[in-house]
Symmetry: C2
Subunit: 349 residues, 2 copies
Amino acid sequence: MSVPEQVPGEHMAAEISQEPSVLASIVERQSEFADVAEAIAKRPPRFVLLAARGSSDHAAIYAKYLIEVLLGLPAGLVSPSTATLYGARPDLRDVLFLTVSQSGGSPDLIEITEIARSQGALTVSVSNTQSSPLAAAAELSVDIGAGIEKAVAATKTYAATLLSLYLLVDAVRGGKGADAQGIGELAQSTLDGSIEGVQRAVDRYRFVDHVLTTGRGYSYPSALEGALKLAETSYLAARAYSGADLLHGPVAAVNSETAVLALTSAGKGGEAMRGVLDAVSGRGADVLAIGSAAADVPAALRINVAQTVEELAPILEILPIQRLALGLSLARGGNPDNPRGLLKVTKTR
Amino acid sequence: MSVPEQVPGEHMAAEISQEPSVLASIVERQSEFADVAEAIAKRPPRFVLLAARGSSDHAAIYAKYLIEVLLGLPAGLVSPSTATLYGARPDLRDVLFLTVSQSGGSPDLIEITEIARSQGALTVSVSNTQSSPLAAAAELSVDIGAGIEKAVAATKTYAATLLSLYLLVDAVRGGKGADAQGIGELAQSTLDGSIEGVQRAVDRYRFVDHVLTTGRGYSYPSALEGALKLAETSYLAARAYSGADLLHGPVAAVNSETAVLALTSAGKGGEAMRGVLDAVSGRGADVLAIGSAAADVPAALRINVAQTVEELAPILEILPIQRLALGLSLARGGNPDNPRGLLKVTKTR
């Protein structure tokens, strides 16, 4: 069977370009999030647990920050193996259990959701496939609604998952997504406005060997997702640290051969990065500042991102990072649509 | 003022050698853990939160597994910044809040513990300094009892923290630390039995550039701690992944230039590593298997560890990794006692 010739990266490039319209369409569906929030309100949780893997795990960490700060509820990330490998059966009454999975097909996430439900949790799936086994396993489901994603590296589904989680959390606190109005336009202006900066970063990092990504607060998940995106598309051994953890040891391995991608959006997380950037700059690292406050920090290179409330910054700041991963992969001779050895649905147990 | 000449790594070497006796002395103090467990039993928690940074954060993740599996309680890691940067004030009644800090002096951990206590949590400090501000901030305190640690890189305090957390959790479930009897002797036989394997690994990885550490279940924290230890003493850009997460993307960056340090102790976590090791071996990676079941997996090099119940394996398997970090640091011309740019107490906020 002949397969049509594929241009390397065409799917990833197309899917990044679709993000502004995908984000705008999610905001239009605010009433769907309000419906799920209403069902949650009937069983108000005392604690929130989140289960996810890969890019969705980074989205879950973002949601954890939203839940703790905006809802005032303690939240934790689930280690699926405690239940699937070791048979843990915790008492989960009063627990809201959110499973985040773009595909909705990972066996361990389906199993952990079934276990959580049988242990008394209110289970909600957040997925891009409403007919998925995960959506069937959970009591309630949130549709990410990003459309089919062909590239193995998640791009539009990641940004769409972040926005879906934001709108869900905002609806739980009684909001109607007011701060997210216009996020589609802001995404477009971020993509349009970062073309030159991304190209300069692609040129600069063509031969880079050591990449470290870092951010604090809401932007910490962007650092995690950035490192994963670079690892899976450009085969870079990129490491991610929260700005605070970086100073607890790993900074020792930073030197003039290290490229540091630092998330610096306007707000408290970005402000708290100043000391971190002083520390890595003092060790000779090459800093690429990405964010709406990139102009305010010492950096060799900057990529500006449109400004929004701090909670929504991760949705915008990931866009130029995705473009950077795409560009670097192509510059280094890879095909980001089909990284070697990766499948779209990973069947871990 | 003249400072006595210091032999590079003398403190780290001495502190690793002390671990068997430190561990044995902690087991002797089982009644102290029983006392704290009794106080916890008077306010039985529904949910456990853990706060920590650096090596202590890895110990906290270990405790999270213990709490979920052995106590059947949902547990989560706290992101201190949600409270300290963003002002989150969650309702923490029915919450057991464990703050793990070797020094007991990190300002953000003290602040988050004070906030947790004022929000209704039962707060417990787990620290190596009983006169620390952290121990004063928490209602109850657990003494790690590892003695003064002079090297900046934590070694004996890490293993001692793991054992202290194990004995506390075991006491909460009504145990008396039966499985931990003899852990000192097992630590000694692990150190004695791994000298040659560690030396071969030091020789082999003298010029390594890309190191990845991986483990599953209880051994996942050992992978995290191993990567940190290598980064802070040998300045290696080491990355850590759970075996499951590794297959969700980062495996794409694994090739024949990658050294993979894999935790393979007897038990469910080690068994679940087989598929992971097949995947990285298939990509040409150089595998160093460390653990009591190291003989059972395909590897270029193996370091055997004394066998114990799976829950206690992390206390033993970290010992040869610490020796490896020490040996590599010296071989690469560093001084692991005083890594460049690191302080013993990191003052992040």
